[in-house]
Symmetry: C2
Subunit: 241 residues, 2 copies
DNA sequence: ACGCCATGAATGTCAGACAATTAAATGTCT
DNA sequence: AGACATTTAATTGTCTGACATTCATGGCGT
């Protein structure tokens, strides 16, 4: 992996060297790196510089460090959860910094989410359907805060993508959808709109239950359209304020 | 953003503090952080510790540092390209470490890719169609290496997702699909299979041209099935070896 | 006005020290 | 012999102070 313009910094160069050792398989999961002192010797730099390099890798969850005798830096086993958390941080920041319109974000979110409907209808399990129904019940509570409603909404859609029974797909979709949540949260939900959304959630679960791809897809499309409508009315309200 | 079990390290704690300042908007893009010496004072630690914290943030592209007078650490503007590169690194590593079956990866890849067909058929531009045709011509060259064929394949699918005309969708899809390329590269392409793939690529472009969603979707489904077949035959060949 | 250079502020690096932690080796008691 | 306590060595985490390097700015001389 060639580095961009250049790495005018020793610590960055050392980090890159070790990173490619990991990515290209010369260091395997669980392997212990040489101690900081040894690395400093090998690369002809001071320990401080090596440490900065290691911190860079630790920030990407590529390595983990343990203290004490026979501690050191170990190639980390990247779990789905860690990877997803990082993806969400990066994507959230990206979306927050680039003046994404609500409509574009919404369109992307539902396009991604609909990519799992066919598999989800085929493979949905009773356990996941039950989880979705539980979230719907939560959402129907009359005195629920907007925050809690959104959290439950995320959990519902998370369960939906899990229905596809493909962990790789779940990882990508859950990460993508979750990253867009802050943009979705521009909307303040009225009792009326909550009821509408809950109805559509019910339709999705019902469609999955009878393995009817088309009805699930239709419900998601309707949910997308409705969400965009809500977003636009919020924008309009702000404009006239 | 609460940290998991604990961060028993000062440099990690400081990095987390600054990170949340950025993610939650208390520091804006382009803002200059205090100098390392000032940060060290504020947090009551040494400059070395602050530097390790800053390197962690730099590794996530959250900040960039400039040397010289009036240099320092600045909140970075995260570009789509930087974000995608990070997403690809993380996802590639994740997939490489978790014994993903070829079939599961393939299924996820095409499910994601098909999420843009409807928008792509509606919005495809002549420029992007031309780009796709150029890649097909490249792929048809008789003396092309496997590596170059795969690279062109990535470029082709990249153009396909760009057809959807939604930059957020492009970002997520291009990253996801690219991250799975190493798994796809298990396949060694024969002249026969290349011809088959190129035919399907042609069908995709033709479908986009006449804005026929169904035919594009069908071509992608066929491509998925064919890719899985190829993968299985490779596995079978290895098993009997 | 123009170019050159000193200055100062900042990061990048180094060397050496000490504290904290931890597993393993060693010692000690029953 | 076995259980428990202690020492030891390796390693990371942090601190201190120093020097090198980079670069915008402003003053100086011509």
């Amino acid at each position: 992996m060639k580095n961009q313009t250049a790495a005018p910094s020793l610590s960055a160069a050392i980090a890159d060297a070790i990173r490619s050792d990991i990515v290209e398989g010369r260091l395997l999961v669980g392997d212990r790196l040489p101690s900081e002192a040894e690395l400093a010797d090998q690369h002809g730099v001071s320990r401080a510089t090596v440490r900065e390099a290691l911190k860079r890798l630790a920030a990407q969850s590529l390595i983990r460090t343990e203290r004490g005798a026979f501690g050191g830096a170990f190639v980390n086993h990247l779990s789905y959860e860690e990877a997803r958390a990082q993806q969400v941080t990066t994507s959230t920041l990206l979306l927050g910094m680039n003046a994404i319109s609500f409509q574009v974000a919404c369109e992307a979110r539902y396009a991604l989410e609909r990519s799992c409907t066919a598999l989800a209808a085929e493979r949905r399990t009773d356990a996941l359907l039950a989880a979705m129904r539980t979230e719907i019940d939560t959402q129907a509570a009359p005195d629920l805060s907007d925050e809690a409603f959104c959290a439950s909404d995320v959990a519902f859609h998370r369960a939906l993508v899990d229905c596809a029974g493909n962990e790789v797909l779940s990882y990508h979709l859950a990460g993508s959808v979750e990253a867009m949540q802050p943009l979705m949260n521009m909307i303040t939900f009225t009792a009326r709109s909550r009821a509408e959304i809950i109805d559509l959630h019910r339709a999705i679960v019902a469609g999955l239950e009878i393995r009817d791809v088309a009805s699930v897809d239709r419900a998601l499309a309707t949910l997308e359209a409705y969400t965009i409508t809500l977003g636009q009315s919020v924008l309009k309200a702000r404009a006239t304020r």
